[in-house]
Symmetry: D2
Subunit: 365 residues, 4 copies
Amino acid sequence: MSGSGFGKLFKITTWGESHGKAIGVVIDGCPSGLSLCEEDIQIFLDRRKPGQNEFTTLRNEDDKVEILSGIFEGKTTGTPISLIVYNKDHHSTDYGNIASCYRPGHADFTYDSKYGFRDYRGGGRSSGRETIGRVAAGAVAIKILKELGITFTSYVSSIGELLIDFDNFSEQEIKTNPFYMPDAECAKKAEEYLKSIMSDSDSVGSSIECIIKGVPAGIGEPAFDKLDALLSQAVMSIGAVKAVEIGDGISVATARGSENNDSFYVNNGKVDKKTNHSGGILGGISDGSDIFLRASIKPTPSIFKEQETVTNDLNDTVLSIKGRHDPIIGPRAVVVVESMCAITILDLMLQNMGTKLENIKKIYN
Amino acid sequence: MSGSGFGKLFKITTWGESHGKAIGVVIDGCPSGLSLCEEDIQIFLDRRKPGQNEFTTLRNEDDKVEILSGIFEGKTTGTPISLIVYNKDHHSTDYGNIASCYRPGHADFTYDSKYGFRDYRGGGRSSGRETIGRVAAGAVAIKILKELGITFTSYVSSIGELLIDFDNFSEQEIKTNPFYMPDAECAKKAEEYLKSIMSDSDSVGSSIECIIKGVPAGIGEPAFDKLDALLSQAVMSIGAVKAVEIGDGISVATARGSENNDSFYVNNGKVDKKTNHSGGILGGISDGSDIFLRASIKPTPSIFKEQETVTNDLNDTVLSIKGRHDPIIGPRAVVVVESMCAITILDLMLQNMGTKLENIKKIYN
Amino acid sequence: MSGSGFGKLFKITTWGESHGKAIGVVIDGCPSGLSLCEEDIQIFLDRRKPGQNEFTTLRNEDDKVEILSGIFEGKTTGTPISLIVYNKDHHSTDYGNIASCYRPGHADFTYDSKYGFRDYRGGGRSSGRETIGRVAAGAVAIKILKELGITFTSYVSSIGELLIDFDNFSEQEIKTNPFYMPDAECAKKAEEYLKSIMSDSDSVGSSIECIIKGVPAGIGEPAFDKLDALLSQAVMSIGAVKAVEIGDGISVATARGSENNDSFYVNNGKVDKKTNHSGGILGGISDGSDIFLRASIKPTPSIFKEQETVTNDLNDTVLSIKGRHDPIIGPRAVVVVESMCAITILDLMLQNMGTKLENIKKIYN
Amino acid sequence: MSGSGFGKLFKITTWGESHGKAIGVVIDGCPSGLSLCEEDIQIFLDRRKPGQNEFTTLRNEDDKVEILSGIFEGKTTGTPISLIVYNKDHHSTDYGNIASCYRPGHADFTYDSKYGFRDYRGGGRSSGRETIGRVAAGAVAIKILKELGITFTSYVSSIGELLIDFDNFSEQEIKTNPFYMPDAECAKKAEEYLKSIMSDSDSVGSSIECIIKGVPAGIGEPAFDKLDALLSQAVMSIGAVKAVEIGDGISVATARGSENNDSFYVNNGKVDKKTNHSGGILGGISDGSDIFLRASIKPTPSIFKEQETVTNDLNDTVLSIKGRHDPIIGPRAVVVVESMCAITILDLMLQNMGTKLENIKKIYN
């Protein structure tokens, strides 16, 4: 039941529905002494804000975040940080048949099965707006990690059949095009491609990659709380994600050991790796090289094409979804993936500090 | 630090190293009243036991499980069940350069980074033998789920470039060939293929699929403890897994919404789906159809080819691994994937019982 | 660090400081289908509201609760319930020497030690106002428990040297006098007594008792999550509590076994007890008789007498606290104790439903 | 259900029944690099071992501990430490009417209510032998804390009406008499007193005090995971404990604020307190002075006097308990209280290291 919390020491709890009064998150366990203001968080929320271009829903939301607790004189106090975003554009009159029938690809049916009824307004709790809390908390985690020298590069690596070309990779480009793609040429093609999808009343899938630099070796726990295991939970828990890959991902299934193993060598007096098939994680623990993760995102389930479905009183019916919907989920989900990765890594870093007796003595003596 | 526990209500804690005295698991929260004896667990452990054919390590272990607590007069009492398997075949003299250098693809370097030193005997805690506890606990979960009508079909779906043909699918066949493949013809080819890999002193990757039938709609929690999110953590936490897919997995990234959405229809007075691209999970909650999961398994990192690496006192070196190693991990990992899925689902089912006020009243009034 | 959460399945997370913008709680895991409106919660908050009589602080707060999520069409949906109370009466200019010196009996020094600095306005997070979130969540738990036939009687049983006389016990009286005492005569004496304490610029301790009727036998977990162990954590976590007793409490230390053991007998075809020295709990599990708990509450640390203390730059100083403070904590804490007991019991009841295999089958088949 | 685990980062899971094959504990999250051998643990187990004098049960158990995992070359590796004690003296034939009737003061009835049946041999899981795992884990925690300069003084402070006189307090004396009392004279009286209780076929209560020196200021979390709250859970979870007091405990209920507040002063350039009514904890966080805790222990419920009770098929009956039982629980529980306090404090210290951003930077940069 209580599945809205994530993390052990840097623990977040998200709440709120698409068309309720507000959406928010409580961060319990943020270290004290971090400079933090609303603008630090807002820039991340703006990356997932709707209505920014013709490829995102027209829903008119400012998504302005307000800090309600945990900050004093511009710094985190170590006590819970409560963040809230009020929902502005409810459009609460116009749900029609959504209330009484189950949209394919959505959680309408499963919520009814679980709870006996559901808040059908805009998907309620299962709406993409649930990720606002994740991104707000992620902004805080990313700020702390940045002070420790850890940075994130996240982007859309494919839209439908269009894949980015790594020869064109430009980190700068990611912020320039509406699809958060690092390849300008591919982004240009995507524009045409998505227009054709939209004119077809359809949607399409995509994939997101996240590269994390600067994580020291030794982060992650053996057995069940492996760094890759918790990253998988974190990223798979984002609504539309259907696959998570670490390092070479599914291609390890066809690789040979002699190809897949990364050779170690001594580089400037430190252990380094000649390749990074492992994606920066060995035995569930960071190895000091870049962490690489890929998520596969399903197409937006809300499409304008007619679809067969059933009503909640068990009659077959045909559904035409109206309203406003992104033809693709990936671009707005990039910052969500990045946020969940940051929260996971920070939490494991906090846990990691008690690993060696010598570190413990360093703090307490 | 405390990453060796998994689950909230059906909670397992595994312990033990490859070459320590014993390996084990404590199951805390097993419901009372279940008939349980050592043989129930042994049949699952036997599926991952080494030394069963020419494609697995020759390590000579019986892997006989002993129940130390939690059972009275043949039934679970509801108190912790402690299960132990003594390590028999230590070969504890022969570690040579493993102690002083980092094997590529293994966790030697990351353990040293994290803890300052490591139990280098056979990989210590990061050995595949750590999964013995998972399988022993999984056997208990699978037995309970079976009483609720939930069953598992798990198998190797590819070895290197060899993929099973679903037209040849035979559940019976899975137990017949040494690779746990449901396609006899593919298994036959795999035999030749693996012999050539072995003669090449190399290893190869594989993939495992798990189909779970009978899970009622409504299992899994919204937000972070989604059924697919926790399955991902559970399966990604198995040593060699580098990707987890649910339903159509990575192919959703290239699909259109109109293809990917599963239409609902009324079937015998109940809600059913015409297709199952979602893999039995919508919005993180089971939808009543089969749950489908795929894991990609990396090649065995221990290969006999010479490999470049470094010593733990930071000198470049060349390593030749000796001893006995499986050329492929997948077949023996099938039962581990199945076990982790079962533990995850049972735990979420126990959590789910408090979801509706009417259910709570059913128990207490 | 993340200590602001309590409970496993009915999980609450509180946030907010005395003089921040707002105070609140998120309830994650509330069962669906419960009728719930703000008034249900407000009546509990009103029991701890300041400014209600001459014996409580004059701080002018309405403490009006607002539901931000988790309710749809008047019923809980099963998703997180976010509750907020805006702080109205900040008086934020007037902290003077509180900012720079450590008040005896308060957490000023320990917060500085832990976090490096603190929100000194009105005690920040360590203020009694932190309990607003507990009471709001407790109101929800109490409502659910009431539907299951479980009720609470909570009251002040002593103020300083004044003890209630059980011969005068009147449940009705509890709501009548300003001290929530069940003995009208004792309450009358307390009025005079407290006036003399106040005129002395001092404060005084008190004790609270809570009787819980209707908890079925079988609630609570063996070992560490015993019902009495978790009740102790829950109640001791309330700011000023310094002792928790179950049943006969400290007097068991002088009792003989033949006195302390409660004889069982058959009463109307059910197992009953002739006495209840155990306070309704045996081996950490409810035995079906009334649960009895007592908490000892320290005197309000904010007193108007001059006190010796130190500044945060390590100089000895003398402190005169000004402003508005209750001379006694007990009366306003009664509803907090009751709330924490309710949250604990509901959480354990939800966990308990998976205890017997037959119950599990009842839900799923 | 899963109540056999305690702690977040230094996490213990105990298992085993009084008359099962063995009893044990898994410690998950012990820092690496600690020298540890079986003798380190054995000396603590010997403090609770039965059969040491005429006032304890004659049960013949060596209670020899064996380390099964987590140690390599004499040091903790950071992976789970599994500790086992085999039960030797089962006497498993002689349970007679215990199997079919409910012993007053014991958990027989509540286990049957919860689980549907129980392991009735010697109390099964609710036996005092369950504390073996706690003490074994406590020994490890105490060893780590000792390296950080934290020490424990624990003793019996009263037996029935006999209270120790603090003027006679001798730490050396604690280990000298069979009652772990720090007052030789009182211990002498206790000997006569207990003989008379025993000749009366009865038992008697007692109390235990624990003083913890050297805990730095700043340990414990605000809100629910307060140091005193978790100590209360930890100690109340020990079988026979019915009250937990911190600092002045129940006497705060009759104290005035001006008496109860501890004045701060500057001592050798550090903040110190003139008195310690708070018992070393303010606002749930350690204040650097000695932590003081008292537990009230009920009389042994197994007495030889005839008692009225019921059978499990609901008939009134009369029970005469035979066998071997301590007339008092306190002395053997001293080391259990100490162990639970140590586990709690160590766990909170590990959590505390991520509190300040500057500490985090100290570890990672």
